[in-house]
């Protein structure tokens, strides 16, 4: 099974994988070889790839996954390798978001979005 991870800035990964786990918009999904064709909406969270000898972990932020012909394509706005996550920065963002006092629905949505992203990032960094 081939796994491709693409962001607008770069193609971060294009290699063989035995198993891929992704955080979807509303839960987690595991994809093994020979999975049925699928298009899914991603949430913020962890992406795990098991390769022959090692496991790699990424933090991904929204986007899509497409499974077709044994190729898993992950399109995301942002992807960071788990070891490279800046926990201090994420914690700062989270504290900042929680300190906001939003007034309009859009501001509420933005605060919740930022907080959810920061929390997901911290979760991936700690795991």
């Amino acid at each position: 099974m081939q796994c491709v991870l693409v962001t607008p800035e770069a193609t971060l990964l294009d290699s063989q994988a035995e198993f891929v786990a992704l955080t979807l918009f509303d839960g987690e999904i595991g994809i093994g070889p020979g999975h049925a064709p699928l298009i899914g909406r991603l949430g913020c969270g962890e992406m795990r790839i098991r390769q022959a000898d090692k496991q790699r972990r990424f933090y991904i932020e929204g986007g899509f996954v497409e499974v077709c012909n044994d190729v898993v394509s992950v399109l995301t706005g942002r992807a960071v390798e788990a070891e490279k996550i800046d926990s201090a920065e994420a914690e700062r963002l989270l504290a900042e978001a929680l300190h906001l006092s939003p007034r309009t629905p859009e501001q509420f949505a933005q605060r919740d979005r930022t907080a959810a992203q920061a929390r997901a990032m911290l979760r991936v960094a700690r795991a």
Partner: protein, 290 residues
């Protein structure tokens, strides 16, 4: 000796200018390579997004989204002009500015007021000089423009468009077609009109499962496509800027070379003339003594 020395001084200054233009050419060549790689990476992303939309359409999904349809009323529009932060890149900035100026006068008839947003110090300075008010100026988009920077901007436009305070977004930038061809364009990014090519519809590809649903995916794919498009504009602008600078600096270096050889010739001639003059003086003096 006066004339020869002045010529030599000029030649030296031209030589040092040549060194600078040559270095700038090499720098922009390296930066062009990097910008080009980033642009092709972004193209890979956009292509996959387009494929995704085609698959949605093939699954019998009606591709409909608020971002794809124009608003009923035409009240406010934004023209985003992408220029460089630095000059010395030939006709790059002036080309974009001329195109944006033409677009502005044309759109002003239909839209009344056009809100102007400018990226790049060169464009900002130009509009300030012409006393055209700009709503926003950005100077932090350089040749290494990052997606999260553009993402912030794109999210703001999307929010405004959804809230109804923005009815149209045009972007004026230098489009990159090939190494030898870049041209200024004014493109309409919002409303998006059509998304990609739907020719795959009805061909019956694989039967996809949609998680959580096709509608939900469409809700996300359209803004993602918009962001990718805006990012592509910035990347194109960065690539074109480096090419323009490369070409301009190459021409400047060649001009400097021509000037150096011209000055060298005049200098040698002046020096020779001086020596001849001195010799004549000595001979004349010696003959007068005899």
């Amino acid at each position: 000796m006066a004339k020869a020395r002045a010529l030599d001084k000029r030649r030296r200054s031209v030589k040092s200018i040549r060194k600078i233009t040559r270095t700038m050419e090499l720098i922009s060549r390296a930066q062009f390579k990097r910008a080009m790689d980033r642009a092709s990476a972004a193209t890979a992303y956009t292509r996959r997004i387009t494929d995704l939309v085609a698959h949605l359409a093939a699954a019998g999904m009606q591709v409909k989204h608020p971002l794809l349809t124009p608003h009923a009323e035409n009240k406010s529009m934004v023209l985003l002009v992408l220029t460089a932060n630095r000059g010395l890149c030939g006709g790059y900035n002036s080309g974009v500015l001329r195109a944006s100026q033409a677009a502005m006068t044309e759109r002003a008839e239909q839209w009344g007021e056009v809100r102007l947003e400018v990226s790049g110090k060169r464009g900002a300075a130009n509009f300030k000089f012409r006393k055209i008010p700009t709503a926003e100026t950005y100077t932090h988009f350089n040749e290494k423009v990052r997606f999260d920077q553009v993402n912030l901007l794109a999210t703001r436009y999307l929010d405004e468009y959804a809230a109804g305070s923005l009815d149209r977004l045009d972007v004026a930038y230098m489009k990159f077609e090939s190494l030898s061809r870049q041209y200024p364009v004014v493109e309409t990014l919002l409303p998006m009109g059509r998304l990609g090519d739907h020719s795959a519809a009805g061909l019956g590809g694989p039967q996809y499962d949609f998680l959580p649903s096709a509608e939900s995916i469409l809700d996300e794919v359209v803004p993602a496509a918009f962001k990718a498009q805006l990012f592509k504009c910035f990347l194109d602008a960065a690539v074109s800027e480096q090419i323009a600078r490369m070409v301009a600096m190459k021409a400047a270096t060649e001009n400097a070379d021509a000037m150096i050889s011209l000055l060298s010739m005049s200098y040698n001639r002046a020096r020779q003339g001086q020596i001849t003059g001195e010799l004549l003086e000595i001979i004349g003096g010696a003959e007068a003594v005899q």
